[in-house]
């Protein structure tokens, strides 16, 4: 069965989704929408989101700036469409709440958010090791995810809090937080430092540090950075019987390197204590299949009624609440946010 598909937001992400859907084969992209007509587009284009419904799509892909996400998603759901939406899921948790209300009202429509890091090969393999119990209880997690700002940092909508809801944390760090929650569940205790160091005139953070604990006592530390001049993705999971790490993440830019999964199980000395530096098993992944896996899961949910495991609206809500909690946990930063909110509202 082919799903008639409308893509709203036909920039870099919209085109990535289009390509993945073509390679899946179960989608027929019938229309794309963006602010300007792309002359190189291979599908009909419109410039008003409401016009995509003239093409009678079954599903709507929403690849637009965060500010537009809740309205477009709610409209699509109210039209009875299934929706695949990029992360971050709006600008804050109340945006997600709105979409959840629309999802419930829509009944059978599928709503999936693109938290694709969950289905990267190295991450899936790490999850299997945790699930199998091979490594024992999870003690703590460390995550570093960062990049060097980006082109037109000051002008990019991603760094306009009105449009995006925040800076590097909500844009990129959110993936690491989502993975933390996938591995350990939700956090109850949160401390943070949120800073602007390099782009001091831009009203969003360029670094966020967070230290968090789950009710079960699993501790996680995050550093999300826009001044990570050497692009870095590193996730470490330390467990009773050893450790797992993922170094690098396959991305469209390729700038985070190949994805390398490291696994080590402790060697015990004669007294039963772990000896340092156990044998490490390193597995390299060189092909990013995450886009294809996401599209396949979405298709199976729509056509075969399978439940969404990656990118549910509940996961979206949980991670957005965590982002907000990290912003709030730094008293200086939350004061800055309150001041700017007051300035905006007058």
């Amino acid at each position: 069965m082919k799903l008639r598909t409308a893509i709203i937001g036909y920039g870099k992400m919209g085109k990535i989704r289009h390509k993945a859907m073509e390679s899946h084969g179960g989608f027929d992209v019938v229309v794309a929408c963006d602010t300007a007509i792309d002359p190189s587009a291979t599908v009909p284009m419109v410039t008003r989101p409401s016009d995509v419904y003239d093409f009678a799509p079954d599903v709507v892909v929403c690849s637009v700036p965060n500010i537009f996400i809740p309205d477009l998603v709610c409209t699509a759901l109210s039209h009875g469409k299934h929706v695949f939406c990029e992360k971050p899921p709006g600008r804050n948790s109340s945006d997600v709440q709105k979409m959840i209300t629309a999802e419930r009202a829509a009944g059978g429509s599928v709503l999936k958010f693109g938290f694709n890091h969950r289905v990267h090969d190295a991450i899936e393999e790490a999850q299997k090791l945790l699930s199998a119990g091979t490594m024992g209880d999870l003690y703590f997690m460390r995550g570093v995810y960062g990049k060097a700002g980006g082109p037109d940092y000051a002008k990019n909508w991603r760094n306009d809090p009105e449009q995006s809801g925040g800076g590097i944390l909500i844009d990129q760090g959110i993936h690491m937080l989502d993975l933390f929650q996938m591995f350990a569940g939700n956090f109850c205790d949160i401390q943070s430092f949120v800073q602007r160091k390099f782009w001091t005139e831009v009203p969003v953070e360029d670094n966020a540090f967070a230290l968090m604990k789950t009710p079960q006592g699993v501790v996680a530390s995050l550093h999300s950075s826009a001044t990570q001049w050497q692009h870095t993705f590193r996730l470490e999971l330390y467990l009773r019987n050893g450790f797992i790490s993922v170094d690098g993440i396959l991305s469209a830019s390729g700038s985070y390197g190949a994805e390398v999964l490291n696994i080590a199980i402790n060697r015990l000395d004669s007294s039963g204590n772990p000896s340092p530096n156990p044998e490490l098993q390193e597995i390299r992944f060189t092909q990013d299949l995450s886009w294809n896996k996401e599209v396949a899961e979405f298709y199976d949910a729509v056509v075969h009624g399978k439940p969404i495991k990656c990118g549910t609206s509940q996961q979206a809500l949980d991670v957005m609440q965590l982002v907000e909690a990290i912003y709030q946990a730094d008293p200086e930063w939350s004061q800055t946010l309150r001041t700017s909110a007051t300035e905006v509202t007058g």
Binding site: K128, A132, T134, R267, E279, L280, Q281, I283
Partner: protein
């Protein structure tokens, strides 16, 4: 198919260059010599590469010391041109193990094997709670005890080394009775007269989806590529077939095993070559003598990791499935 790299400390040269390994090689070669001189020894000529099946007339001579060996021009595997019966080989090994001092200090190697099984089990998302060890416990004193001490969540059966037929009748019967989820085969494939017969026997005697953990010497290893039969690891009786990666892959395909993982976790190539090129008579070999002249442990480790990542170390591991 995935190709993991196993990173660990490099062993000291003592382990490969000391008196014990030299004595071991000498004793095994004495056994081979006796076999060759014994007019009653039955030899089977190998007319084709035991890995990929390429006609041996198309293969190159590898060594003519004691026993003639060939290197397959198609798959790069190395193999003895003729082999004694399986029964005779098994008898010789048993005598040797009974006479020799027990193997010691293999704890790291044992733990590596146990962790290999555990990590694979998690990755294939299937319980491997019953494993059959094929003859490793006979070869390595301490292995059985290590599994009892460290492998708590699976049961083990151990098939001892005993004189078997060319098609492994006894081994097949023991495997059928055990009905394993996994089979561990760390030291057999290069030592048996007919590796294809061994894999066939395992495949036929085990339930479908039994996972095989195979380790063997690897002809693609830099050690064999550069030193050939001069490598200290090349003990003819223990290396009747030295598989290349593609050679073992071909054989698995032929037997009907699907390969899930392959790697070359050897840790000795760099130290073996270091010793070789630092010796007086090899001090003028282009590139390599200079490379090893000032090589410290860090450089050797870097080289060994590169070899592993490139599937070019002297030991291979395969995970395959019936």
């Amino acid at each position: 198919m995935q190709s993991p790299v196993f990173l660990d400390h490099l062993p000291d040269f003592e382990k490969i260059g000391g008196d014990k390994p030299a004595r071991y090689r000498w004793q095994r070669n004495q056994s081979l010599l006796q076999l060759l001189l014994d007019s009653e020894t039955i030899w089977t000529k190998r007319c084709a590469c035991p890995a990929c099946g390429e006609q041996s007339t198309n293969c190159k001579s590898f060594s003519k010391a004691l026993l003639d060996f060939q290197r397959c021009t198609k798959c790069n595997s190395i193999f003895a041109q003729r082999v004694p019966t399986q029964e005779k080989l098994d008898q010789l090994r048993i005598e040797f193990i009974e006479d020799g001092p027990p193997e010691k200090d293999r704890e790291f190697e044992f733990i590596s094997l146990l962790n290999w099984v555990s990590i694979t089990e998690a990755r294939i998302e299937r319980s491997l709670d019953h494993v059959v060890d094929i003859r490793f416990s006979s070869q390595m004193a301490g292995w059985k005890e290590t599994t009892e001490r460290l492998s708590h969540n699976r049961t083990w059966d151990f098939i001892d080394l005993s004189p078997d037929t060319c098609d492994f009748t006894d081994l097949s019967a023991a495997l059928s009775q055990s009905s394993p989820k996994a089979v561990l085969l760390p030291v057999e494939l290069d030592r048996v007269a007919n590796p294809e017969m061994l894999l066939n026997a395992i495949k036929k005697s085990c339930p479908k989806q039994t996972v095989l953990f195979i380790a063997s010497s690897c002809a693609d290893g830099l050690e064999y590529e550069i030193l050939g039969a001069d490598s200290p690891s090349f003990v003819p009786l223990d290396r009747l077939t030295v598989f290349s990666i593609s050679g073992l892959q071909s054989l698995c395909n032929k037997v009907g095993l699907s390969v899930l993982e392959c790697s070359t976790p050897g840790r000795l190539d760099a130290v073996i070559l270091d010793t070789h090129f630092k010796s007086e008579e090899n001090s003028n070999i282009p590139f390599w003598s200079g490379f090893f002249k000032d090589a410290d442990n860090n450089r050797l480790r870097d080289l060994q990791i590169l070899l592993q990542r490139s599937l070019k170390s002297g030991i291979l591991r395969f995970v395959a499935e019936t």
